[in-house]
Amino acid sequence: MLRVRDEEFAEFFSARFDTYRRIAHALCGNWSLAEELAQESFVKVYARWSKVRTETADAYLRTVLTRTFLDTKRRGRAREHSVAEVPDTPVGGEHAVPEREVLRAALLGVPPGQRAVLVLRFVADLSVEEAAAALGCSTGTVKSQTARGLAALRAAYPESTRSA
């Protein structure tokens, strides 16, 4: 019985871990922290695997990941590399895509709550209802937070890049 459970979870893990690690990276902007957030989320999913099952595991995983990220922000565990000024030259080496890194840096300038909404809605490509379920709030809150988050994102975006 336990072996079947572990095999199911291993399949689930293999299919999703990289995606959720990238989502976590979009939230926090740090690969080490993203790895930690993803790992912690999958551990919590495993602990409740018999209850969440595969049908609801994705929704539960999104909820756990988002709340774990917001908890780290509330506890002051912000280990992300905060960027006060968006760099003129995107980080990531000569093979990095400049526009993507500029956008990523701008996203990190958005407040965590609004950033979480933006990531769920546009990076994870969730509907308003799914994002509301993941955050444990109303759809109206998701909509308003989305609008504010986009405004904050645009404000954080470099003028020169914005007009390009």
Partner: protein, 272 residues
């Protein structure tokens, strides 16, 4: 690239360092998390059960009001007669063994004499029946009337040894209350007896335990004064037939009486 919310989707793409988390590690940590949750729940349950058990234990060991604590009363709650003995208390040498020591007597003189007669079979039968009801766990012997039928003795045996009950009967003149008052200290008791009057006017008096001499023998009596002039004396002793030597001399018996004051009072009311 414009600031388009749909451009955020591209953040999922692009180069990324290789992940270091293995499913084996996640499963290991997940099992540990399950174990911690189970242990925490078990600890809470144990603490709650412990607190409940401790509370119950404390409640059981907490001091109770006297009426609750003394679940088996030994003394009858009748009022004592409002009289005083005519003489000063004299301390008896009852030895060092409780409760024989520290007993006092108040000798009486000039009290009315009563003439004891033969105890009727009806009285003995009623008394023995009453004893079986008052002392259901005591082994009850058979009446022995060695003194020309004036006194009848009954052995009472329990886990503490052999004691006895004797019955005598006499006649008196006057009202039951007056006779009871006149004989309130006839046992050389210093403390007045406890009195109960039944609906038909019978006076029942239970006397304090006294010490008989010369061989220390504990004795407690109840006297029943019936309106028809019949006096019945019930005497409880801490010795029985096995303690009688040479026919009359009584040896020290068990350390306690075979019945309590309350039981003697109940017995007297049955007989009355």
């Amino acid at each position: 690239m414009p600031v388009d919310e749909h451009a955020l989707r591209e953040l999922l793409d692009g180069p990324a360092p290789a992940g270091t988390t293995s499913v084996t590690e996640v499963v290991r940590l997940g099992k540990r998390l399950v174990y911690v949750r189970v242990a925490r729940t078990s600890l809470i349950v144990v603490l709650v059960v412990g607190m409940v058990a401790g509370s119950l234990n404390w409640l059981q060991s907490a001091p109770m009001p006297p009426a609750v604590l003394r679940s088996v009363p030994t003394e009858v709650d009748w009022p004592r007669v409002d009289l005083r003995p005519a003489s000063e208390p004299q301390r008896l040498d009852g030895g060092e063994v409780e409760p024989l020591k520290a007993l006092y007597r108040c000798p009486v003189s000039g009290e009315p004499q009563v003439g004891y007669g033969e105890v009727s079979g009806a009285l003995l039968g009623a008394t023995r029946t009453a004893v079986t009801r008052v002392l259901p766990k005591t082994k009850i012997g058979y009446w022995d009337a060695p003194t020309a039928g004036i006194t009848a003795d009954l052995d009472l045996t329990d886990s503490d040894g052999v004691g006895s009950l004797s019955v005598r009967s006499a006649t008196f003149t006057g009202s039951p209350i007056a006779a009871a008052d006149a004989l309130a200290f006839t046992d050389s008791n210093c403390e007045p007896p406890k009195r109960h009057i039944t609906e038909d006017g019978t006076v029942v008096q239970v006397y304090p335990m006294v010490l008989s001499e010369p061989i220390p023998t504990l004795t407690m009596r109840a006297r029943i004064f019936r309106p028809n002039g019949l006096l019945v004396v019930l005497e409880v002793r801490n010795s029985g037939s096995i303690h009688v030597r040479d026919g009359t001399e009584r040896q020290p018996g068990r350390p306690t009486l075979p019945m309590t004051e309350l039981q003697l009072a109940q017995l007297a009311v049955w007989v009355a």
